[in-house]
């Protein structure tokens, strides 16, 4: 975390991922007067109200005009500001797609898009407010970096890194009270470098966002069944940590990806691309929404429904462990 920040891990006990984002943004704003916060009538929901209160001159509410907001952010970046744009993921990635692509990514502008209410984290608001396509869309834009922090601690670190990193960045966070994954802030965070949360040699679960905690829970369940599960927190979906993926392929040869997102175009696809390019054989199962829209419900119920909670991932681990992918295996002892 940047020098001088007063945010502590204790705050995560009573603050949501979005609230932590708002707090950290305010503290970063105090250190860096080039930071400007922009919202489209969602300052309250995206939790940047404190920034507005502390730095009213650097806070712009454009009303319900998300596309304009992206264009304005691009303009502000062109004259040296660091615009941090906050809105719901579904608006940031889908409604604004062309503006993000052309005004921000094509110009390679230093804009940070913080997309709250991502995945199914706003489950009860209905399918129109879910966002299970944003990783796919944003990942396809040249110059764009895509981050999905696992919890509040990671959100704080990721935001700090993002502000210090030149170029467009899309960061998706949740809406609800996502439980913490990390036990403290004492871990290294680097954009593009996965964090190994749990060591294992039988199978690797690569997850991002809220599902990293589910993967860790699944690893504990699997341990009781005698399985050794590696869990990678792939917080940066683009650029993906190719080395960590290939190491997992080489060392465990069974991979599961888990994301609160469609299995098309997101983390699972990014991992699959790395594997395919390597020419190495392995089993890959992608967990997420299987080419469908999520139903309406509470986030934890939706995670369960789509096999993204600890039990669901543990079940997938059992399935993948039964997959036999080497028909030509030779069991004759070497003598």
């Amino acid at each position: 975390m940047a020098k001088g920040l007063t945010w502590t891990i204790d705050d995560a006990d009573h603050m949501t991922q979005a609230e932590i984002y708002g707090e950290v943004l305010t503290q970063l704003g105090a250190q860096n007067e080039r930071i400007i916060a922009l919202t489209a009538d969602l300052a309250g929901s995206t939790k940047i109200g404190r920034f507005q209160k502390d730095f009213p001159d650097r806070f712009i509410n454009l009303g319900v005009a998300e596309m304009n907001m992206m264009g304005m952010a691009s303009g502000l970046a062109s004259v040296g500001f660091v615009p941090v744009v906050s809105t719901f993921a579904v608006f940031a990635s889908l409604r604004c797609a062309e503006f993000v692509r052309t005004d921000i990514c094509y110009q390679d502008r230093n804009v940070k898009i913080i997309a709250t209410h991502s995945g199914t984290s706003f489950g009860q608001a209905g399918t129109t407010h879910h966002c299970t396509e944003d990783l796919a869309v944003m990942r396809s834009f040249a110059n764009m970096k895509v981050i999905a922090p696992a919890d509040s601690y990671e959100t704080a670190k990721a935001l700090t890194e993002a502000v210090e990193t030149e170029g467009p960045i899309y960061m998706r966070i949740g809406r609800s009270f996502e439980p913490p994954l990390h036990k403290s802030v004492d871990f290294d965070f680097e954009i593009g470098k996965a964090i190994q949360i749990h060591e294992g040699t039988d199978i690797t679960v690569i997850a991002c966002g809220r599902t990293v905690l589910s993967a860790l829970e699944a690893a504990e369940i699997a341990k009781q069944q005698g399985l050794s599960v590696r869990v990678l927190d792939m917080h940066t979906v683009k650029p993906i940590d190719t080395d960590a993926v290939l190491q997992a392929v080489g060392e465990t040869r069974r991979i599961i990806t888990a994301e609160d997102h469609s299995v098309i175009g997101g983390l699972g696809s990014a991992v699959a691309e790395v594997i395919a390019a390597s020419g190495k054989g392995c089993v890959l199962k992608k967990l997420g929404l299987q080419d469908e829209f999520a139903i309406v419900g509470y986030p934890e119920d939706l995670l369960h429904r789509y096999g993204l909670d600890g039990d669901g991932i543990a079940e997938a681990i059992q399935q993948v462990m039964k997959t036999d992918f080497e028909a030509d295996e030779d069991w004759e002892d070497e003598v």
Binding site: T201, D202, W331, E332, E334
Partner: protein
Amino acid sequence: MSTRDELKSRLFLRVALPLTKVVREEDPRMRRLTRNMNAVVQFAVKGTETGAHLIFADDGLEVVQGIHEKPTVSFTFKNLKSLNDFFAGGLALPRVKGLMRLDVILRTVPLLLSLKMLMPDSDPKDPAKRALKVKLLLYMVTSALSQLNKAGEPAMAKLVEKSPDRIYQWIVEGGPSAYLRMKAGNTKAGRGVYTRRRPFVLMKFPDIEGAYQVLTSKVPLVEAVKEGFVVTEGAMEYSKEIGIRMQMIEELMAA
């Protein structure tokens, strides 16, 4: 499930006997002794299909399981126990066919006797011999563990039955390596380093001497880890299971 005698004969014929090939490759004296030899030397149990034969041809040696129809020399034992006693260094007199080819017998017996270096009381001082003993022991342990499973030995079979694809790897820095792969009831003993996945359990010896001390049980494993003779990584609770089977193998192959 195999009887104790069946298990023992399996270990002698499928694990120990094939090590003659390694001895021949590594020991210049044995290589000289069997140079350009063309013969088949068989060890079999009378009236059964249990047996194995050494084929010396083209200045090489192959160890093949099963009965050869026309061996040059054959050692036929009256029963499994007798064969086991012979290989364990005990008193057992087989019926020998092919005595006219005394030259073959005289060249083969020293090769067989060289396997005595696997015995616990053999403690060669020559560094080359110690290195050879380490290699033989590594190959023997991994093959024997695999054979225990293939013979259906209950404890080993249980360990392997539900095992995911797992590698138990032994590595001697600057020396030999061997591994045991197990997966869903199958096992394979292999030589070298398995590169297609990370070992579930890794026992790495920093040098030949450390490996010698541990593999000959001169230093208990716990003390060996403390002294740095061996570095272990991975699921140690499973390495304990393997250690128990290794002890069992030692008992089975003792006289």
